[in-house]
Amino acid sequence: MKGALGSRGLRSRIVVGSAVGALLVSVVLVTTTWLLARSYLLDQREASLVRQAFADANVLGSRLATVGTEVGDVVAELTPSNGADVVVRSGDAWYSSSLDVGARYVPADLRSIVGEGSAGTVRLDTPEGPALLVGVPISSAGVDYYELAPLTELQQVLRTLAVVLGAGALAATAAGAAFGGWASRRALQPLEQVAGAATRIAGGELTTRLPPTEDPDLLAIVAGFNSMVDALAARIERDARFVGDVSHELRSPLTGVVTSVEVLAARRAELSPRADQALSLVEGELARFRQMLDDLLALARLDGAPPSDSGVPVSMTALVREVLAAGGWDGELLHADPDDATTVSGDKNALERAVRNLLDNAGRHAGGPTAVHVQRRDGAVLVSVDDGGPGVPVEDRERVFERFARGPRAARRSLPGAGLGLAIVAETASRHGGAAWCSAAPGGGARFSLSVPGCAR
């Protein structure tokens, strides 16, 4: 039982439970009602038939009192009401008002009871249906009077009653199930609210809270849930702020270092060859450090900002063209739909960084992009960057978008990049309601794609 019900939902268990409960209660009530009604009706009917039999026996007795009357004639004249039949025993002779009915209907024990001078009744099943046989001794005439009254009418009434009661039981069961459904919906409503709120929170809406309630049964749940979300939001915010704060704190000293190194670089000629090499090394590392800090700040900004709906219109074709030019890439790589067909609504700087990161990624891991496409497809604007590198194995295609994930060749320390570039792409895409993914380029390399919902045209 538990196995069968345990696998079902709470709601269906409540529905089944209350239906079964209603069924049991109504079966008990219906059965009791039916039994009581049946015995009461039978008793009533029997009593009235017995009264009738006595009255008829009286009539017979007074007729027989007249001298010279034949029992058979009197019986033939008798017309008992209610379609009853009459059987009379006089000595060893039996007389009957109907050809179908005779002595064979009168059981031996009733005969003996009546023979001893008492009245008695017995219930019989005749071919026409149930019937009641009443025996009355008429001692004045020395005969026994039996009256056989059909009970079919009563049986009809009882059958109708049974049908009505059964239908009532079924209705009660259905009502029980309906009530269970309603009650379980009511009972589960708060849980559904909690589930909905949890889903929204998981989706990043950390401001979601359960509405305050007056219900004392729900107070604890609502308060507990809301304080849990408060704590979670505070913690997430603290973590994000910490990364942002650390990055900001690092900017000032980095500014001093960058500027000083530039002063040094302006005096390269005065440096010994070894010092010059060391300076080059510092410059390279500094560029990497700057990049990393920049990426961290960009991510902190993306993490901290709510999904932006205050975007400005940006043409992705124009943007990609500019990023290619700014990065010194070949503008011929671009295969794009017209500027006004690829307009999206978004944060221009974030989109620029995402596209730049895709190009830098191709440059870092695959010797540069081999083709850049900007297309409008099914209402979205798709930017894809193909490279001629070794491609990305299928099992790594999601992992490369994780923070600090490194490409297959990135284990080599000499490669720049902190592994945040593609994470920024993915985060930017999701902030704009789009997606970023990696697939195989037609030429064999990797294809990194960024899709952002386009503006209505």
Binding site: H248, R251, S252, P253, L254, T255, G256, V257, V258, T259, S260, E262, V263, A266, R290, L293, R301, V312, P313, A318, L319, E322, A326, K348, N349, E352
Partner: protein, 238 residues
């Protein structure tokens, strides 16, 4: 950079940064003065106004906004702001206080010198517009009339000169070069500030706002420098 080296005042309370910045800017041919606080900066400007200023927003007791506001009372020289954050309202506040442009830390000196050069070009040449402009343009003929004289570098309302900063003046000249034509923020950024495609368009918006407070009769309902929604700005001659 011909002739006398332009005089530049660096206002920065972080000693290593200020020192390194002075060295680097001297390498670029500027005559660099230093101020470690807002008070020091105002004192230095009071003695001999520099040609250009680089101001860090995070200073000690007197912050960068106050310094800029104070300097702007008297001087129209180009001011570049240095900020640790590009995404905060600090930038907009600094621009509203009167700064012309900004760079974010960690910057490379060439970013600052590029900005300085763009601002300086306008400050010295006087006629930097890409289109030839008549000697006198009447912007608003309702008396007292608003008149722009680009060659002279002045805007007058009636007999009185309207005090514009060099950047505001340059922006007005750009718009006045084709009255009735819509200039996108992008175009204005490129022509006036020499920023590329990814320049911050807030710079344009704030400067337009500042310009309106000076040339419009009712800055809340501008009729000379008009916003064209979704496209940019336009100058209407009246």
């Amino acid at each position: 950079m011909t002739g006398v080296a332009p005089r530049l005042l660096v206002v920065e309370d972080d000693d290593p940064i200020r020192t390194a910045l002075r060295w680097a800017l001297e390498d670029e041919g500027y005559d660099v003065g230093e101020a470690a606080s807002g008070e020091e900066a105002l004192a230095a400007v009071g003695v001999t106004p520099p040609d250009l200023m680089v101001v860090d927003l995070m200073l000690g007791s007197m912050d960068g906004f106050t310094v800029i506001r104070e300097v702007r009372r008297e001087h129209d020289l180009p001011i570049i702001v240095v900020s640790a954050r590009a995404d905060t309202d600090d930038i907009v506040a600094a621009l509203e206080a009167g700064a012309d442009d900004y760079v974010t830390k960690p910057f490379q000196v060439k970013e600052i010198t590029a900005r300085l050069r763009a601002l300086r070009r306008r400050a010295t040449s006087g006629t930097p517009a890409t289109h030839p402009v008549p000697e006198e343009v009447v912007l608003d003929s309702t008396l007292p009339a608003l008149v722009l004289r680009e060659a002279a570098g002045t805007v007058h309302r009636g007999g009185e000169q309207v005090p514009l900063t060099l950047t505001e003046f340059r922006l007005l000249c750009e718009l006045a070069s084709a009255p009735g034509r819509v200039f996108s923020r992008q175009v204005l950024l490129e022509r006036v500030w020499e920023h590329g495609f990814f320049g911050d368009e807030r710079i344009v918006d704030v400067h337009i706002r500042r310009l309106r407070t000076k040339v419009e009769r009712d800055p809340g309902a501008p009729r000379v420098v008009v916003t064209v929604r979704g496209l940019g700005y336009r100058l209407d001659q009246r």
